[in-house]
C-alpha cells in the first residue's frame, strides 16, 4: 500500500468489500442494458427521480387534510387525484391509499414481504423499514415496536397494522397534534414527519425553536 507509512499495524482502510446484493444488481443491470431492455439513461433517470422525492410532499397532503375536511375526504377517496390537485407528482405507483388515524384508531404500515412504500410521496424508505426485525415484529408485536419508536397508545386504542403485500401503497394521515389549532397550513406541514406518515411516529408541536429555521 502506498502513502501509508506509520508506526502502527492495521488492515488497510477501505470502503469494505462490495456487498453481494450490490454485485448482483450491477450484474443484472449490465445484462438488461446489454439485451436492450433498458438503457443506462433510463436507470439514471429513475434513480434521480427516486432521490428527488421527499416526505415533504406527503406532509403537504396531510397538512392540507388537517385544515380542509373536504380535501381530506378527497384524499381518503383517491390519494393520487389529491396529490395532483396540489401539483405533487404521485409517481408511477398505480394506487396510494390514505389511512386516517383518529383518537380511537392508529394505523401503521409495513411490507412483510419486502419494502413496498409510497416512494413518490415519501421518498426512499428508511433502512429500518426494510429490515427483517421491523417487518416481522410490526405484525407480531406492534405495540412493542411503537413503544420503541416513542409512541405510547392507550389500551383502548385500536392498532391496525397494514401489510402492503401487493399493488397498493399506504400513507398514514396522523392525528393533528394538540397545540396546533391556531397554526396555518404552511406551519403545519413541517410538523408532519416521515415516521408519522408510516404510522410509527406522532406529530408534535415543538416547544422551542425548530431546527433549520
Amino acid at each position: 500500500m502506498t502513502g501509508h507509512d506509520h508506526d502502527h499495524d492495521h488492515e488497510p482502510i477501505t470502503n469494505g468489500g462490495e456487498p453481494l446484493a450490490a454485485a448482483r444488481v450491477r450484474a443484472l443491470a449490465g445484462v438488461l442494458v446489454e439485451k436492450g431492455v433498458l438503457t443506462r439513461e433510463d436507470l439514471r433517470r429513475r434513480m434521480d427521480w427516486l432521490v428527488s422525492r421527499s416526505p415533504s410532499d406527503g406532509a403537504r397532503l396531510v397538512a392540507r387534510a388537517w385544515v380542509d375536511p373536504e380535501f381530506k375526504q378527497r384524499l381518503l377517496a383517491d390519494a393520487r387525484e389529491a396529490a395532483l390537485e396540489l401539483d405533487l407528482d404521485p409517481g408511477p405507483s398505480p394506487v396510494v391509499v390514505a389511512l386516517e388515524n383518529t383518537e380511537d384508531v392508529h394505523h401503521m404500515v409495513v411490507c412483510t414481504l419486502c419494502s413496498c412504500y409510497p416512494k413518490a410521496l415519501l421518498g426512499p424508505p428508511p433502512d429500518w423499514y426494510k429490515s427483517l426485525p421491523y417487518r416481522s415484529r410490526a405484525v407480531s408485536d406492534p405495540r412493542g415496536v411503537l413503544r420503541e419508536f416513542g409512541v405510547e397508545l392507550g389500551d383502548d386504542v385500536d392498532v391496525r397494522v397494514v401489510d402492503s403485500t401487493a399493488d397498493i401503497r399506504y400513507l398514514v394521515i396522523p392525528c393533528r397534534p394538540a397545540g396546533s389549532e391556531a397554526m396555518p397550513e404552511g406551519e403545519l406541514a413541517p410538523l408532519v414527519t416521515r415516521d408519522s406518515m408510516i404510522g410509527v411516529g406522532q406529530p408534535v408541536v415543538a416547544s422551542g425553536p425548530s431546527p433549520g429555521r
Binding site: P94, V95, V97, T112, L113, V139, P142, R143, D155, D156, V157, D158, V159, R160, V161, V162, D163, S164, T165, A166, D167, I168
Partner: protein, 84 residues
C-alpha cells in the same frame, strides 16, 4: 368467486412453489373483507416473464383478532375461500 366488504373469508393454507405475494403468516387465517381494491396482473406468472393475465382481484383483509391489535393484509382473490 368475488367477495364483498364485511364478508368472512379464510386465506388458503396451500403451499406455492415460486414467487407469490401471500405471506406465510396469513395462510390458513380467518378474516373479513375490509376493502375491495381493483384487479391487478397476477404476480405469480408475471414474475416469470408472462403478462400476469387474467388479472386477479385484490382485497384488503382484516385478520380475525380478539385483542385491540389488528393486522390488515392485501391478498389476491384466488388465495381466498369462503368462511362460515
Amino acid at each position: 368467486m368475488t367477495y364483498a366488504v364485511g364478508q368472512r373469508v379464510r386465506v388458503s393454507a396451500r403451499s406455492h412453489e415460486g414467487h407469490h405475494r401471500t405471506p406465510g403468516y396469513v395462510k390458513g387465517q380467518a378474516g373479513t373483507i375490509s376493502r375491495v381494491h381493483a384487479a391487478y396482473p397476477n404476480p405469480e406468472t408475471r414474475a416469470y416473464g408472462a403478462t400476469g393475465l387474467p388479472e386477479q382481484q385484490l382485497y384488503l383483509i382484516a385478520l380475525a383478532s380478539d385483542t385491540k391489535n389488528h393486522v390488515y393484509v392485501d391478498v389476491f382473490g384466488h388465495w381466498l375461500e369462503e368462511a362460515k
